[in-house]
Symmetry: C2
């Protein structure tokens, strides 16, 4: 009985890893779709999110069944409860990848991202994908050092986000308001995606150490808000 139970617990972990892999792939493909104005690819990302939602529903049902049938305590109980929260993070990450793809579709056949921001958006997309791949690895390996590493990777995302704002607020911005709105939202989507990847990793830290990652490493970046036009140091402070 105890063995079937641990198998069930493992299978919940497997689902989390599968979800992380799907949403990591989704954000990568959504980024390509928006940079290349590739409608087919955008549609496929939008469609594929259903699978992530299904996996979450299924994981949730299995977790609740496990709680009811096996009534785990201590660490096992925390694993199940934390898995539920991780699945919510991953489901939301899938939505955010889908938002990027929907923006690509909305602007098709035009490109939502002007040429001079391609490199930054590409970097944000690649970093988001890499963060999620690491989060998946943390779920598998329970490697606390790797989990804490995600925090500094997330700093790189914040930096990219600031670069985006600097472009937007540069007097030479010539792409108009619609593109400014699109780029603002895109920046927000990537930043939130990264936050969820970090959150997944932090929850693993909590499981392993019993401490919230915040307490282990207090220097956590809050959400970035736009800097002042002057580009002074108030950007981070304001977040």
């Amino acid at each position: 009985m105890r063995d079937a139970y641990h198998e069930e617990l493992d299978s919940i972990g497997d689902s989390l890893v599968e979800m992380a892999r799907l949403v990591g792939s989704a954000i990568g493909r959504a980024t390509t779709a928006i940079l290349d104005a590739d409608l087919k690819l955008a549609e496929s990302v939008i469609e594929a999110d259903k699978r992530v939602d299904e996996l979450q529903h299924d994981l949730e049902a299995r977790a609740i069944a496990l709680l009811a049938r096996q009534q785990p305590v201590a660490t096992d109980l925390r694993i199940v409860v934390t898995s539920l929260r991780m699945s919510a993070d991953l489901e939301r990450s899938g939505d955010l990848a889908q938002h990027v793809a929907k923006l690509a579709r909305l602007r098709f056949p035009n490109r939502a991202v002007p040429q001079d921001l391609h490199a930054t958006i590409l970097e944000m997309g690649q970093l988001a994908q890499r963060l999620m791949a690491k989060a998946a690895e943390v779920v598998v390996t329970k490697d606390v050092d790797l989990a804490l590493q995600l925090e500094s990777d997330d700093d790189a995302m914040d930096l990219l986000h600031r670069t985006l704002f600097q472009h937007l607020l540069d007097d030479r911005w010539k792409h108009g308001i619609e593109t400014a709105v699109d780029v603002t939202l895109l920046g927000r989507y990537y930043e939130r995606f990264a936050d969820h990847a970090v959150a997944v990793a932090k929850r693993v830290v909590f499981l392993v150490t019993g401490e919230h990652a915040d307490e282990l490493q207090p220097e956590i970046q809050p959400d970035i808000q736009p800097p002042t036009a002057a580009g002074t140091g108030t950007a981070a402070e304001g977040a």
Copy 2:
């Protein structure tokens, strides 16, 4: 024993209601702060979010202790698990109210919202507060009809969000890019706040009926994305 248990379950419900009241008040005060450029009020909203975070941590700990000690099954188990997810929605709503307040602080002594958008932002803030008050009431009363009503209130938020985008994309927009970025983010904060209020209510529906609210009423508004500049009907479709 069974009585102490139900008291504990009730107290988790009480915490959810308290969280909903705090974040409802926070979004109202944050809206005043940003419209009036009231730095003191903004600071107090930012500060008050700590209390919401504490309540969530505390609720989570009590829920896990309850699961371990009492090992509830069936409906009671679903109540505890769903409460955990509702508390996450409420905690995130608090963050969003805090984001509004932080934007007020960042732009102080200037006003982030131009005069011609005051009315729209005020309405978004009031609607957000009302939605959260209703969500709290749904948690208390378990009133499924009221919960479903939140969906149509949320349609009103989507409409306001579209009005905001129309202003932004109007050729006569004269407030520059920085304000466009601020208004875009504000719109997103209010929309997401409303989504979380609706999510709380929907989770109550799920508890009462055993069905996801989506299945009871399939016409759920997805996240709004910016409309095309032409202002055609593609806005909702693109979301």
